[in-house]
């Protein structure tokens, strides 16, 4: 089976996971039926409520609200016939073996023989579940384990049973990768699979050492968050978010199913956890758990007193200094050597996870790469445990663990496996990653879907992919190509921090376009996320301080020139967008011939936040789009279209997905939206080639753009005066937004006047420079640079 066509998905179980998986299928333009138990009255009430709930969740499971219309609601009572239309059925009901088996028996007669049936169980045995399916259906049954929230967490663990057809699983992996944008780890059918097995063990180890060393939960969260490359919610707040009852349930599963695990004695919920659950304090969903928000104060459970106290834990300066050391070997050596309890705690939790992973690798995963990726994609760790170990010096760490095992400092005395000491320098090598089960290095999957990922995420020590050939570069950008893919499509990659657009990037873009027109057939702008966070504000502040407003004016003119060059270049330009594309970055996106966007693209003209207006052609593009839309609408009035765009700019709205970027007018219906950001470059190169081959002729520079003019500005001003008088915006917000309105409306000209594109560019540039000269705008820019937050002055 090479291509799996899934025209409709059924999700059984409209709980937190089921509903969100359904939402993500709808995002991916796959219609879905969400089933749950029938209810008296409206039999679909449960599923309906779940779909309504999707619209209120943050972060949003739906890429745009109207995607909910592609989720049909159904119930097991009267709608099982509908399963016959479904090519993929995902079961996501409560984690009770009997319930699942009952449901399987009930639905099996309605499942087409060519459909795939998969369980989203997070811990039950897939082989045992398969027994609940008719024999003939077992080859198309597997585990499909999503992570919460499924739209945003990359990981899906796929688990085969003894009977699963390998080709079916391969096809499902390809579909999940491209269509839903997921990152797949093949897990073995062992309790809690890979990520939760290691992740929950890690939480248990943290709990164990927290109690042993008498640390506060807040202090531990300060130690186990971003400072060691883990999510902001660290350990205990993650537990609150996941739900303390859920966590206890998973721990219970480990207790019940892993009797032979050398760490089995630790698979128990601590007393305080059971106490909280008994009191109904289950974490975020009950507005209180380990942490509890009261007004603006965040309180934390204090084990000594049994009550709550303000959360205040901090990393000690001497420990912070160690953690800031960029040399991992030195960092770990210092942690081990330090007598500070926080350092000892950190070494202990790393040591025990390393110890556990080494001992369990052969049983739970095909190879070490899968464990590391599972922790990155499923738990948001920046680095997996094996990578961390390898980076710190394999043998040094291995011997340190061994010593701790022998001295009784480790959680168990289970010895490290022999392979750890076979003279290796790590588990990841250019040829592959270590498989303890097969005692061999395992290369990456060779499934065809991965050929679409030219620069996939790599683990430490893995071979680098083809870096291409540099054609030209300056300090701002590199122009290069991938001869193996297409030698005549150039790739522009920004070199700047966060891909901010400064003078050198503008020079680079202009030069790259000139070279492409001469030597190439097309251009792609691609680099890792973010696409670009906007103009280089540091350069702007410097020039303001020096009073070099003429120079700034020239830079803005150059920005406009670069935007226009992207749009009117003789060869097509394709923007490959992922992550933030803000301000000037958004303007580049808007001007490119075509956009290939990852679903997770956050696009917006956010200049108002720093007291400015879009002047790299952003206002001009909006004015042009409004005129184009108006010319096709009855009456031909431009203003209704301008009005929405004005709000988008004045409120600095940023899209929460690529689909929303289309709604807001930053991208077009005809653009490509990819669910897997790793495929961006592959698709962008192909798209640039296709446009070039279509006999590409750039669009004409418009000479007669109908604008909203003076009446349009006044009508925008009406909205502003009401917001200002109502105290919603400041006097300066008003002034900045009025400037945006003026540019969008084509300047203080008569309504419906026809102006050239260049006229609007001149208007936005003049207004931009006027604002730059003011103290309040300069204060805003400095504040943004210093704090990363907008100033409302």
């Amino acid at each position: 089976m090479s291509r799996l066509i899934i025209r409709k998905v059924a999700v059984l179980g409209a709980g937190v996971m089921g509903a969100q998986i359904a939402a993500h299928c709808a995002n991916a333009s796959v219609p879905v039926i969400l089933f749950d138990l029938p209810k008296e009255g409206d039999p679909n009430a449960i599923a309906k409520k779940a779909v309504d709930g999707l619209k209120k969740l943050d972060p949003a499971p739906l890429a745009t609200r109207d995607r909910a219309q592609f989720i049909d609601v159904a119930n097991y009572g009267s709608d099982l016939e509908k399963l016959r239309d479904c090519d993929l059925i995902i079961e996501a009901i409560a984690e009770k073996m009997e319930w699942k088996l009952d449901l399987y028996a009930k639905v099996a007669p309605f499942i087409r023989p060519d459909a795939i049936f998969a369980s989203n169980t997070s811990g039950l045995s897939i082989n045992a579940l398969a027994e609940g399916m008719p024999e003939a259906a077992r080859s198309r049954f597997c585990g499909i384990h999503f992570f919460n929230p499924p739209r945003y967490m990359a990981l899906v663990e796929l688990i085969a049973t003894r009977s699963t057809d390998p080709a079916t699983l391969d096809a499902l992996e390809a579909w999940l990768t491209t269509r839903l944008g997921k990152s797949i780890v093949r897990a073995k059918d062992t309790p809690n699979f890979v990520a939760n097995r290691v992740g929950v063990f890690s939480i248990l180890a943290v709990m164990h050492h927290t109690a042993r060393m008498g640390l506060g939960f807040d202090e531990v969260d300060a130690l186990t968050g971003p400072i060691i490359g883990r999510p902001k919610s660290a350990t205990y707040r993650t537990a609150d978010v996941v739900g303390l009852d859920t966590l206890a349930h998973v721990i219970g599963t480990m207790d019940a199913t892993l009797a032979d695990d050398p760490w089995h004695a630790y698979f128990k919920s601590p007393e305080w956890l059971a106490g909280l659950i008994a009191k109904g304090a289950l974490g975020q969903k009950t507005k209180g758990g380990i942490f509890r928000k009261e007004g603006k104060v965040i309180n934390v459970l204090d084990l000594a007193s049994g009550g709550y106290r303000p959360s205040a834990g901090e990393v000690a300066p001497e420990v912070l200094a160690i953690l800031k050391n960029r040399n991992p070997a030195e960092k770990f050596a210092q942690l081990r050597a330090s007598s500070h309890p926080q350092a000892q705690f950190l070494w202990a939790i790393f040591r025990d996870v390393f110890h556990y992973c080494a001992c369990q690798l052969g049983a739970i995963a095909d190879n070490a790469r899968d464990v590391d990726f599972a922790m990155r994609w499923g738990f948001g760790w920046q680095q997996g445990p094996f990578e961390t170990w390898q980076a710190a010096g394999w043998q040094t760490i291995a011997n340190a663990i061994k010593n701790d095992i022998e001295s009784g400092a480790a959680m168990t005395n289970a010895p490290l496996p022999a392979w750890v000491f076979d003279g290796r320098q790590g588990v990841h090598a250019p040829d592959g990653s270590w498989s303890a089960f097969d005692a061999a290095l395992k290369p990456r999957s060779t499934l065809p879907v991965y050929q679409r990922q030219l620069f996939p995420e790599r683990v430490l020590g893995e071979a680098a992919p083809d870096a291409g050939v540099t054609l030209w570069e300056n300090d701002g950008v590199r122009l290069w190509n991938l001869p193996a893919k297409d030698a005549r499509i150039g790739i522009i990659s920004f070199k700047s921090k966060m891909h901010a657009v400064g003078d050198e990037v503008l020079d680079g873009v202009l030069e790259a376009i000139a070279r492409a027109e001469r030597d190439l057939d097309g251009l792609v702008i691609w680099h890792e996320a973010p696409f670009a966070v906007g103009a280089n504000l540091a350069q702007v502040v410097e020039a303001c301080k020096a009073g070099q407003f003429d120079r700034l004016e020239k830079t803005v003119a150059k920005f406009q020139q670069a935007s226009m060059a992207l749009k009117h270049s003789a060869v097509p330009t394709v923007a490959a967008v992922q992550g933030m594309a803000l301000g000037g970055g958004c303007e580049f996106v808007m001007h490119a011939t075509h956009r290939v966007m990852a679903l997770e693209s956050y696009v917006g003209l956010v200049e108002a936040g720093v007291g400015l207006i879009p002047a790299g052609g952003g206002c001009k593009e909006f004015a042009l789009r409004a005129a184009g839309l108006a010319s096709r609408a009855a009456g031909g009035d431009v203003f209704p279209f301008i009005q929405n765009m004005f709000q988008t700019i004045a409120m600095a709205n940023v899209s929460k997905s690529a689909l929303q970027a289309v709604e807001l007018g930053f991208a077009k219906e005809s653009d490509d939206i990819l669910f897997n950001a790793n495929e961006l470059l592959h698709v962008a190169l192909a798209r640039a080639r296709a446009i070039a081959e279509s006999g590409y002729q750039p669009p004409l520079v418009q000479r007669a753009v109908q604008v909203a003019g003076r009446n349009g500005i006044a009508t925008c001003e009406m909205m502003l005066i009401n917001m200002k008088e109502g105290g919603f915006i400041s006097e300066w917000d008003y002034r900045v937004a009025r400037a945006a309105a003026t540019a969008l409306c084509g300047g203080e000209v008569e309504t419906n006047a026809k102006v050239s594109e260049q006229w609007i560019l001149d208007v936005e540039r003049a207004l931009f420079v006027d604002l730059l000269k003011t103290e309040k705008t300069q204060q805003r820019i400095v504040h943004m640079l210093e704090t990363g937050k907008p100033l409302r002055n």
């Binding site: 006044a714 009508t715 005066i721 109502g726």
Partner: protein
Amino acid sequence: MKQIQEAYIVAATRTPVAKRNGMFRNVRPDDMLAHVLSAVVAKVPGLDATEIGDVVVGCAMPEAEQGMNVARIGVLLAGLPNTVPGITINRFCSSGLQAVADAAARIRLGEADVMIAAGTESMTVMPQIMGNKISLNPAIFAKDENLGIAFGMGLTAEKVAQQWGIDRAAQDAFAVQSNQRAAAAIAAGAFRDEITPYTVRTHVPGEGGTVRVTERICDTDEGPRGDATVESLGKLKPVFAARGSVTAGNSSQMSDGAGAVLLMSEAAVKRYGVKPIARFCSYSVAGVPPEIMGIGPVEAIPRALKAAGIQQSDLDWIELNEAFAAQALAVMKQLDMDQSRINPQGGAIALGHPLGATGVIRAATLMSAFQRTSARYGMISMCIGTGMGAAGIFEKV
């Protein structure tokens, strides 16, 4: 004032008032108008419709579905003789009352013996509250004293609340009272006589490619929330000012509805042998600064009383439009009005405010009150966007 004859209201009716996007979301305002025109004519059996001198229709946003001189469209859709003319007039929220005054004036001048005054408004069909196309004059922003023209109505209510010291608690309490009074009046059937039920037919995709038509008889105002409490309203956030007091709960509701009254001269009353309900006494309208438009009735009411030759204390029943609790309370405070006589059956906060129709709709309420109670003098008054107030006085016959 010189007049050659009295003008009498001999019949009045209205639709129930729907919430915006509520039970009338698929009902056109011209259909609502035709409905009340037919109904009010039917209330005078034997009326020779060709005698109707004119049909004056108030509408605050006379465009799109309620454009095209909706008065004339309504006349024709109602099946009145095509010799009956129609004129649409607009003075925003007082359009309906203005229609009654204009119709009465034609009779009082001796130009007509039979007139209809009506009002229709669907706020559902307006894509923006300010009409299909908003376009402000740049000159408004050139002078500070003109800025008030651009103020939203809610913002003007905030200004009134500030200037007259009307706090949030007072506004919410007033809103609760309005809802309770309206709910009680509905329960008591107090609106039954004045409402002509409207059968809404809705066309939706049905089975097998057919269009399914559903019918619903609407006979009750949709707005009142009898269960509203000071606590429940207290949870609402101010809409028009960050630290304001005006909320969705203490403002009038956006609504759809229509109403019509039939007026006759003394001669016509005698000729048709009908019993008039009330005599039209006086009407007044006056301006105030646009940024405090809600205080408008303070200027209009004394003038209307003077023209009618009566005292404020003579008024037994007052329909004071509750555009916002803040402005209604400020008007009462400023004029020292007797709360017990104001909106005994609730006001626009509960019953809704289909802008240009409200004046006629409340005229229907007042006529019903005249027929059911001992009230002698009644008044309808409201504030008007961009800074005006209107008041009309009626005497039971």
